[in-house]
């Protein structure tokens, strides 16, 4: 219990430090906000172009696809706020050998790497994603039951856990692939697959993107839960998968550390 209190105080220190850092580069802060908005607009334009020519893709109407997009952007913004940038430093730490300092600290290394940088410029994206979701629900003229809303946020959490664990594992690869500077692209590709309903794939690929590379849990399954189209048994499976994925990430990290040779020393 004292350990937990220690980590909580540490996390509060991380938040303070990130806030100070952000305030130092205020112009950059607004530029990044604008940039995030532009990318969302870009993806919405893609959807618009598709739905100019059709009423549905693989059984998803335009508003349902919009809800899915809102969900993905919500998860993406949450990840970017909480974990993404801290974890993305890992390859640099490995290359420069400064990971040593992290490993020496009397703190769990995964905790330190994952939570150290809170990225406040994503808060705008979070708000926009919520507004977009509400707009999509209005368009659908659909009021989800309380149970569906609860299931939705539960599924969003599993999506966050899966995306986080995936990104962590990809960054962990840098222990071996020291010279590869674009490992973060792998996580972007993962999210890129999830932007459309996984129902567009054939049966084999759909299974792959559910059971092997669990992209379906990022947006498709949470959205189905909200729209009341997911079976309860499957939702339990999603929770199990997310926990399993998290454990996998942790085991993989511990395993990778055994191969860490410390570049500088």
């Amino acid at each position: 219990m004292r350990r937990l209190g220690f980590y909580w105080r540490l996390y509060k220190a991380f938040i303070r430090a990130s806030f100070v850092r952000e305030m130092e580069f205020r112009a950059n802060f607004w530029a990044k906000m604008l940039y995030n908005a532009l990318w969302l607009g870009f993806f919405l334009a893609t959807l618009k172009i598709i739905f100019r020519h059709t009423d549905s893709i693989a059984g998803w109407s335009e508003s349902e696809a919009l809800m899915l997009a809102a969900t993905l952007y919500f998860i993406d913004a949450l990840i970017s706020t909480l974990f993404y940038f801290g974890l993305s430093d890992l390859p640099t730490l490995v290359r420069q050998g400064t990971l040593d300092f992290v490993l020496f600290k009397p703190v769990d290394s995964q905790f330190w790497l994952s939570l150290r940088r809170i990225n406040l410029d994503q808060l705008g994206s979070l708000v926009v994603a919520v507004l977009l979701g509400v707009y999509a629900l209005f368009q659908l003229d659909y009021t989800p039951s309380l149970l569906n809303v609860a299931l939705y946020f539960g599924m969003v959490l599993t999506g966050v856990l899966i995306f986080y664990s995936f990104h962590f594992m990809m960054m962990t690869l840098s222990i071996w692939l020291v010279r590869v500077e674009n490992l973060w692209v792998l996580s972007d590709v993962f999210a890129q697959i999830g932007r459309f309903p996984t129902d567009v794939f054939d049966r084999v690929l759909r299974r792959v993107f559910t059971y092997v590379l669990p992209v379906a849990f990022l947006a498709t399954i949470p959205t189905q839960a909200l729209l009341g189209k997911a079976s309860a048994g499957f939702l339990w499976f999603a929770v199990a998968w997310a926990v399993g994925f998290f454990v996998m990430g942790r085991v993989f990290w511990k395993f990778a550390l055994r191969s860490y040779t410390s570049a500088s020393s």
């Binding site: 112009a27 950059n28 530029a31 990044k32 604008l34 940039y35 532009l38 990318w39 607009g41 870009f42 334009a45 893609t46 618009k48 172009i49 598709i50 100019r52 020519h53 059709t54 009423d55 549905s56 893709i57 693989a58 692939l177 010279r179 590869v180 500077e181 674009n182 490992l183 692209v185 792998l186 972007d188 590709v189 890129q192 697959i193 932007r195 459309f196 129902d199 567009v200 794939f201 054939d202």
Partner: protein, 266 residues
């Protein structure tokens, strides 16, 4: 003649250099792989029994995306990220001292990397075409010399645009966000997102006045037979015009910029 042998020497160096980064190249390529996997499937599920969407039948749609991913690998340049860093951190100074024009080195570096990316993508493209041939009859491809000419011109358009963009680093402190903003119109109007014929009228009109359509969209439309005969040559001519405009703009910005250049870090 001496210049030609210098260029060949440069190409040798940069091809070896590109091969050293093949793991990175492979990872970058995955973005294209996913794009040419997901988008055709999205469209295929959108037909709903119709024969064409805006003049594209399913086979043409699928082939369009495979070809856009294939040509993008060779055509679309991202050299401004590295070059702007080299300008800002003063590494450009070393290059200016060498007995080869800097633009030649940039050209050799860019085309080596892009050529390797394209070669890496060939098996992926073949695999993708095989995969889709199970769902739909593919569009016949016309990969004659007009197509390759158009690919080469597209490469040059993108090269000069990226080069001109990199020159902003002579004046601006922070170029990263400008470059990021560049990608949204570029990806939309180069035909990466969707064939330009499928876009609303105002976007189609915008596509004509920006250089992006003349990078990848034109060669791909030639490859799947959407551009033929006179209209094809007109578009290839416009590509050549954009090469000239791009080269002119880049050279002017470069010369002006060099006068600003202080060689930080020397």
């Amino acid at each position: 003649m001496r210049l030609l042998s210098k260029l060949i020497a440069l190409l040798k160096i940069y091809i070896a250099d590109s091969l050293a980064y093949r793991a990175s190249a492979f990872i970058w390529m995955l973005t294209d792989v996913v794009h040419c996997l997901v988008m055709p499937l999205v469209w295929l599920s959108a037909y709903g029994g119709r024969e064409t969407i805006a003049g594209y039948n399913p086979g043409e749609m699928v082939t369009y995306y495979v070809m856009i991913a294939f040509t993008t690998n060779f055509i679309v340049s991202h050299l401004m990220w590295d070059l702007s860093m080299e300008i800002k951190e003063g590494m450009l100074s070393q290059w200016l001292l060498r007995p080869v024009p800097v633009v030649w080195m940039l050209f050799a570096r860019n085309i080596s990397w892009r050529a390797m990316r394209m070669v890496l993508f060939v098996p992926v493209a073949l695999l993708a075409l095989w995969y889709y041939s199970r769902f739909t009859a593919l569009s016949p491809l016309t990969l004659g010399w007009a197509f390759w000419l158009s690919v080469l011109l597209g490469h040059l358009v993108s090269f000069w645009v990226a080069y001109a963009l990199a020159c902003l680093a002579f004046w601006l402190q922070e170029t990263q966000s400008v470059f990021s903003l560049y990608y949204a119109p570029m990806l939309l109007l180069s035909g990466w997102v969707a064939p330009i014929a499928l876009m609303p009228g105002w976007l189609q009109a915008l596509a004509v006045v920006f250089p992006f359509r003349y990078t990848t969209a034109v060669p791909v439309e030639i490859a799947i037979g959407k551009l033929q005969g006179e209209s094809m040559w007109l578009e290839i001519g416009l590509q050549a015009v954009w090469v000239l405009i791009g080269a002119g703009a880049a050279q002017i910005l470069w010369r002006k910029g060099l006068r600003q250049y202080t060689g930080v870090g020397m």
